[in-house]
Amino acid sequence: MNGEHGPARDETVVTVENLSHSYGDVSVLDGVDLTVEPGEFVALVGPNGAGKTTLLRSINGILDPDEGEVVLDGTPVGDLSSKAVSRQVATVPQDSHVGFSFTTEQIVEMGRTPHQSRLDWGTDSEPIERALERTATVQFRDRPVDDLSGGERQRVLLARALAQEPSVLVLDEPTASLDINHQIQVLGLVADLVSEGKTAIAAIHDLDLAARFCDRLLLLSDGEIRARGSPESVLTGDALATAFGTTTAVTQNPATGTPTVAAFDERSPVAGRVHVAGGGVSGRRAIRTLWQAGFDLSAGPLPEGDRAVELAAALACPTVTAPPFEPIDDRHRDAAMELAHEADVIVVTDGPGGEAVPETADHSARIRAALGGHSSVGRQPATALGDGGRSPAAGEASADQTVTSVEALLAAVRDCLDSG
C-alpha cells in the first residue's frame, strides 16, 4: 500500500480545466481552473449561487459541463462510465431523505454498488465493517437511518462514501444543517481521513469552519474564483468584500488559532476622520462603534497584543502600536500623533496607551472616553476636553463632558464635527 502511495502522491488527483457552465441563460461557472493534490482538503467557499455545487457536480460526474473538463487521475470524467467515476469519487450529500427506513448497515452497503455487478448480491463485508467503524456508526448499524439525529445520519452518509473506497471525497455542505458539536465531529472526521491519504473537496458555507479544517480555500463568486490559497490568505476583507458584497472583519479566533470572519451590515461611510488613542475595552468599543457608524479611523498608540489592535487590523485602520507593558517612548508617541493630526477628532480612552497622548491642545477636537463600564475601576473619571481654540462653540459643546457610553461618544464626535 505504501509502495503504491509514494509515487501517487506526486500526481494530481483532480484537475479542473477552464470549466464553464450555464443553466439556460444564467452562467454559473465561468472559466474555473483548479488543481487538487492528493491528500489535500480543499474548501469551496462563497455566497449562495456562486457555483460551488455546480463545480462539485462536475467533479463527481453528475453534470456534463458546457465547456472545459474535469480530469481524474489523467482521464477526463466525460470518458468514464458513471460506475467508474463512482469508484474514484464518492459524494456526501447535504442530507439525504431516505425513504422506506433502510437501516444504517443497508445504507452503507449501498456504497458497494459501483464495485458489484448487478447479480452479485454478496455483501463485501470487509469494506462495510471498516466504514462503519471508521465513522463510529457501528453501534447503530441495525437502526433505521430515519431514527438517527442529523449528525449521526451525516456520519452514515460519510460511511457510505467510505464503503465506495474512493480516492476523492466530494462533500456538498456536509454540515449545513448540523448542531455545532456535530459540525466539528463531521469535519474533524473528514480532516482525519484526509491525513490518512484521502483527498477531500467540500463546499462549506461557514467560513470559520472552512478555515479551521481545510488546507486550502477557494473563494468563488458569480462563477469565478476570486481567491485561492491558505485560509489566512483567502479570508481577507478585500476578497470577501468582492465575493459577498459586504464588509467583514477577519480576526484570529483565540481558541482555534484560525481566522474567524465577522460580517457587518451595509456600512455607509460618513465624512470625518477620527483617531482613537488607547486600547483595552474602551479602545475596542470606541473603534467598533465609530467604524460601524461609518467614520474613517486611525488608531494609536496601542500596546502590541491589545485586543483593540486586532480589531483595528481586521478593519484595516492605520494603526501605531508600541511594545506592551512599558511606558510609550517618544518615537511611538510621535508616530501616533502624526496620525492624530490628520484626524478631525481624537478620542482618548482610559485604556493602555491613552495616557501617552500629550495634554497640550492641538488643532483637533478631543474627547475622553471611558467605555469599559465597571472594568475602569481605579482609573480617573474621564473628562472631555475642549478643542484647543479653533472653535469656541466646539469647546463649549464638549467641555466637561464625561463620555461613558458608546451613544454619548457618537453624539460627542458628531457634535465636534458639526461645529468644526
Binding site: V85, S86, G99, F100, S101, F102, M110, P114, T123, Q164
Partner: protein, 366 residues
C-alpha cells in the same frame, strides 16, 4: 450471505403457504373434493411441453380478415394416479387453471406494486398509476363492444392497450432523454382520466354485452383457461427475473436520483427498465383477469412491514404473498351461492385491512 438466506427462508415459507392455499382452494366449489383426491388429480395434471405445432386463428374485422398462424404447445403428462374421472376433470379443467391464473396475476400485480412504490417513492403508487389498467380496459371494452377478431381476442387487445397507454405516458413525460418522476405521475393521472372518458363512451354502445364489460372492469377469473396460464406464466416469470436483477438498483434509487448517480447507477436506463417491466407484468395480469384493485397497493406495504424495505427480499416475498392473497380472495369470490367478481373481494377485504394498518401507524409514509 445474510440477504441470500433471508430471501430463501421467507420465500420458502411463503411458497409453502401458496401451495397450501392452492390445495385448499381446489377443494372448494359446488362439488366438494377431499384433499387426497385434489393432490392426486393435481399430480396427474403435471405436464411438460413435448412439441410445437402451428394452428391458424382467424384475425380481422366484421368478417373480413386473414388466418394468422399461432404456435400451439403439445404436452405430455407423465403421471396417471387413480382419481375418479369427473373429479379429475373438475380439478384439471375447471379449478386448477383458474387457481393458477389467480396466483400468476396476484404475483404479477404485487411485484409491479412493489416496484412502482419504490420507483415513485410514493406509498400511493400502484400498477395502474401510469395508465396500464385504463389502457387495458379500453382494449378489452372495445373488443367486447365491437366485433373485432384478433388472436386471443380480448386478452390481446387489453395487453396491447395497456402497453400503448403506458408507453404514451412515458413519451409525454420524457423530454431530452430525462423522465422526471413527478411529471410521469401527473401524465399518468391525466391519461387515466382521458381513457376513463373513452371507456365510459364505449360502454354506451356495448348494448347486450354491457354486463360482460362491467364484469371485466371489476376484475374476474371466471373465464380462466389453460391458454391464459400458458400465455402469462412465461411472460410474468421472465419479467420478474429482470426486475429482481434490478432490485439493488431500485434500493439505491430510493436515496434519490442524484445520490443514485453518485453511486454509479445509470438512472434513466434503470427507470426505463423498471417502468417497462412493471408495465408488461401488469398488462399481462390485467389482460387475463380484468382490473383487480388493491393487490398491488396493500401487499407490498404489508410485506415491507414484515421484511423491511430491501427490494431484493421485498420483490420475491411480495410476489408470493400477492399470489397467495389473490388465490384466497378468488376462493371466497366463487365459494358463495352466487359468484362475485374477485376485484370486489380484494377491495372489500383489502381496504379495511389497509385502514387498520394506517390507524395503527404501521403504514404511514415510505
Amino acid at each position: 450471505m445474510r440477504i441470500h438466506s433471508r430471501v430463501l427462508l421467507w420465500s420458502s415459507v411463503l411458497f409453502a403457504a401458496l401451495v397450501c392455499t392452492i390445495l385448499v382452494s381446489a377443494r372448494v366449489g359446488p362439488v366438494s373434493i377431499d384433499t387426497g383426491t385434489v393432490v392426486r388429480a393435481t399430480i396427474n395434471t403435471l405436464a411438460y411441453p413435448s412439441g410445437v405445432s402451428l394452428e391458424s386463428t382467424r384475425a380481422g374485422l366484421w368478417g373480413y380478415g386473414l388466418d394468422v398462424p399461432v404456435p400451439d404447445l403439445a404436452y405430455t403428462r407423465p403421471f396417471s394416479l387413480s382419481v375418479d374421472s369427473s373429479d379429475q376433470v373438475i380439478v384439471q379443467e375447471l379449478r386448477l387453471p383458474r387457481i393458477l391464473l389467480g396466483a400468476i396475476v396476484g404475483f404479477a400485480l404485487a411485484t409491479a406494486g412493489a416496484v412502482m412504490q419504490g420507483f415513485f417513492r410514493n406509498p400511493m403508487a400502484d400498477p395502474s398509476i401510469i395508465g396500464v389498467s385504463s389502457g387495458a380496459a379500453v382494449g378489452a371494452v372495445a373488443v367486447i363492444a365491437f366485433p373485432i377478431a384478433i388472436p386471443f381476442g380480448l386478452q390481446t387487445a387489453a395487453f396491447v392497450g395497456a402497453l400503448v397507454a403506458a408507453f404514451g405516458v412515458y413519451l409525454v413525460a420524457t423530454e431530452g432523454g430525462r423522465t422526471p418522476v413527478a411529471t410521469l405521475l401527473l401524465a399518468g393521472l391525466a391519461i387515466q382520466t382521458f381513457l376513463g372518458a373513452v371507456i365510459s363512451y364505449i360502454l354506451l354502445y356495448t348494448g347486450d354485452s354491457l354486463e360482460e364489460a362491467i364484469l371485466w372492469l371489476m376484475g374476474h377469473l371466471r373465464w380462466s383457461s389453460w391458454g391464459d396460464v400458458e400465455a402469462t406464466l412465461p411472460l410474468t416469470a421472465a419479467v420478474f427475473v429482470v426486475l429482481l436483477a434490478y432490485a439493488r438498483d431500485l434500493n439505491v434509487m430510493l436515496l434519490g436520483e442524484e445520490d443514485a448517480k453518485t453511486l454509479g447507477i445509470d438512472v434513466e436506463w434503470t427507470k426505463r427498465i423498471l417502468l417497462a417491466g412493471a408495465s408488461i407484468i401488469t398488462a399481462a395480469g390485467v389482460a387475463v383477469a380484468g382490473i383487480i384493485g388493491f393487490v398491488g397497493l396493500i401487499i407490498p406495504h404489508i410485506m415491507r412491514l414484515l421484511v423491511g424495505p430491501d427490494h431484493r427480499i421485498l420483490l420475491p416475498t411480495s410476489a408470493l404473498a400477492g399470489a397467495t392473497f389473490l388465490v384466497a380472495a378468488d376462493t371466497i369470490a366463487r365459494a358463495g351461492p352466487a359468484e362475485v367478481p374477485v376485484g370486489i373481494v380484494t377491495a372489500a377485504v383489502g381496504a379495511p385491512f389497509f385502514l387498520f394498518l394506517l390507524r395503527k401507524r404501521e403504514v404511514h409514509a415510505l
